[in-house]
């Protein structure tokens, strides 16, 4: 008895430290290895519930070669006797007294059921379990639950000295297995949150795309414009990042993506008579048209976490020499997102048909953009689009 209490203390201390381990597989590996060593078992294994397969996998196994069960070789579905006997409420009473199913108990339990003549099928499942346990080299199985969900089963091999597993040992293993169940539960919750976040993100992107195409519904001449500008802006940014023009940050690309999709959203507030007018705009009309970038930023003000993207929309008609709108920003005061969209926007506007003129050639558009590098357009963004053009990538 003394030696058992010794190893229990050791295990308890170690397992307290392990609560901090968030990887439930790693936690399980450490626990199973320690159980084998400290309790002097020939082997031990842990069957873990895997939600992706909706089944149980013997995932962790430690002990002597020839004794231990291969890892990730066996799968147990919900109909497997060892899973059912722990999972189904009507069999719960078979486990209650020992927190485990012990092979040496099974014959006694079957006899007990026979004498009592219960009709709930306990005898049959006990018989099936008694066939399964030797196949798994196990003298005891310890279940672990979260609420009423069976999340893990600890399989215990015989002790090296052939001694029986004492009740206090089984209780202790049961407590350790519960730690594993808790860790699995946490991992499941975390996975669920991640999926939820991904879903929300996808919904946001899809909503943004829908919003971006709203403006195209009003102005058929801009059909496909948003998509093309978005693609071109991403290409320019990637090329600039490769040349070290700015630090690559995931957030930058995200903001650029959203801002390009929404760069003309402010046109929703521009009267149709101006928006689709054939022929040149009067100075008054042009003044109204120019409000679309600031209007766009106003519309998007509710996107709290996307300030960079709102700024990008607001300033996509600023010019490098300060002659643009709405704030006449100059040079590096213009957000990089805006500078990139400006080049992509101009390129697409020049190369597609407009109400007042047919589309120009790519070659001509690139030459024009090059001519205004450092005047209207950010030189690095111009260099990037020229390179894309020369490589045949736009």
């Amino acid at each position: 008895m003394m030696t058992q209490i010794d190893y229990k203390k050791e295990l308890e201390t170690a397992s307290k430290g392990m609560i901090m381990i968030h990887d439930h597989v790693l936690l399980t590996k450490l626990l199973v290895r320690m159980i084998v060593r400290k309790a002097r078992l020939r082997h031990a294994g842990m069957i873990l519930y895997e939600s992706a397969r909706d089944s149980y996998v013997l995932a962790i196994s430690r002990g002597g070669s020839g004794d231990r069960i291969p890892e990730r070789f066996l799968r147990f579905d919900h109909t497997h006797p060892i899973i059912r006997i722990f999972h189904q409420k009507e069999y719960k009473y078979l486990i209650d007294s020992r927190n485990a199913l012990v092979f040496d108990d099974i014959n006694r339990l079957i006899w007990h059921e026979t004498v009592l003549g219960s009709a709930n099928g306990s005898r049959e499942i006990l018989r099936q379990v008694s066939e399964q346990m030797p196949m798994l080299n196990s003298v005891a199985c310890v279940p672990a639950f979260y609420r009423h969900q069976l999340l893990a089963v600890l399989l215990l091999g015989a002790k090296h000295d052939g001694a029986r597993l004492e009740q206090d040992e089984l209780d202790f293993f049961s407590a350790l297995a519960s730690d594993v169940a808790m860790a699995i539960r946490n991992a499941q919750l975390f996975e669920g949150l991640k999926q939820e976040a991904d879903r929300s993100r996808n919904l946001f992107i899809q909503t943004t795309i829908a919003l971006g195409s709203a403006i195209e519904a009003k102005d058929s001449y801009t059909h496909g414009h948003t998509e093309r500008v978005t693609k071109c802006a991403q290409a320019i940014a990637r090329s600039m990042a490769q040349q070290g023009a700015f630090n690559v940050a995931e957030k930058f690309f995200e903001n650029l993506y959203i801002a390009s999709l929404l760069h003309d959203i402010g046109k929703i507030g521009i009267p149709e008579s101006i928006l689709v007018k054939k022929g040149p705009l009067t100075p008054e009309e042009y003044a109204v048209m120019k409000t679309h970038s600031a209007r766009g930023a106003d519309i998007l003000v509710a996107l709290k976490d996307f300030e960079g993207c709102i700024e990008g929309v607001k300033h996509h008609h600023e010019k490098f020499d300060g002659s643009g709108y709405p704030n006449a920003l100059k040079g590096d005061a213009i957000p990089m997102i805006s500078a990139i969209i400006a080049v992509a926007d101009t390129f697409d506007a020049m190369t597609t048909d407009r109400p007042y003129r047919a589309g120009l050639s790519k070659e001509y558009a690139i030459a024009e953009i090059k001519r205004y590098a450092g005047v209207w357009y950010h030189p690095a963004a111009v260099a990037a689009i020229v390179e894309l053009y020369e490589q045949g990538n736009i």
Partner: protein
């Protein structure tokens, strides 16, 4: 006695499967890699082979290709953790009778193997 050859690079799998099928009255041989498997197949003439795919230099697919050159090709069932449907199809095209995915349900493996032997006898 019907002869079963188990080919797997994992020692634990070989040991476990050997014990399991021995208890079911089969004469079980094991091989840890492709060349060992080829030696066993020509030397022991097993009735059925359980074949892993990922094993060192000579993969299970290579073994299947080699086997096609034999006069009396042995029956092969793949047992592998590979999920790639293309690989599964390739093994079938190369003559494997079936494909069992690891982690597997032991009773299913048992059923498939014993059925092959009962078909034979």
């Amino acid at each position: 006695m019907p002869k079963l050859l188990i080919v797997d690079d994992e020692l634990d799998v070989r040991e476990f499967a050997r014990n399991f099928f021995r208890k079911r009255g089969l004469d079980v041989f094991i091989a840890a890699n492709g060349p060992e498997a080829m030696g066993m197949i020509t030397g022991e003439c097993p009735d059925l082979v359980l074949l892993d795919i990922r094993m060192g230099d000579m993969s299970g697919l290579d073994v299947l290709r080699e086997l096609r050159r034999l006069e009396n090709p042995v029956k092969v069932i793949m047992v592998s953790g590979i999920e790639d449907e293309q690989v599964v199809q390739e093994t079938i095209a190369l003559g494997a009778l079936g494909f069992i995915h690891k982690p597997l349900i032991l009773e299913e493996l048992e059923k498939v193997v014993l059925r092959e032997f009962s078909l034979q006898s």
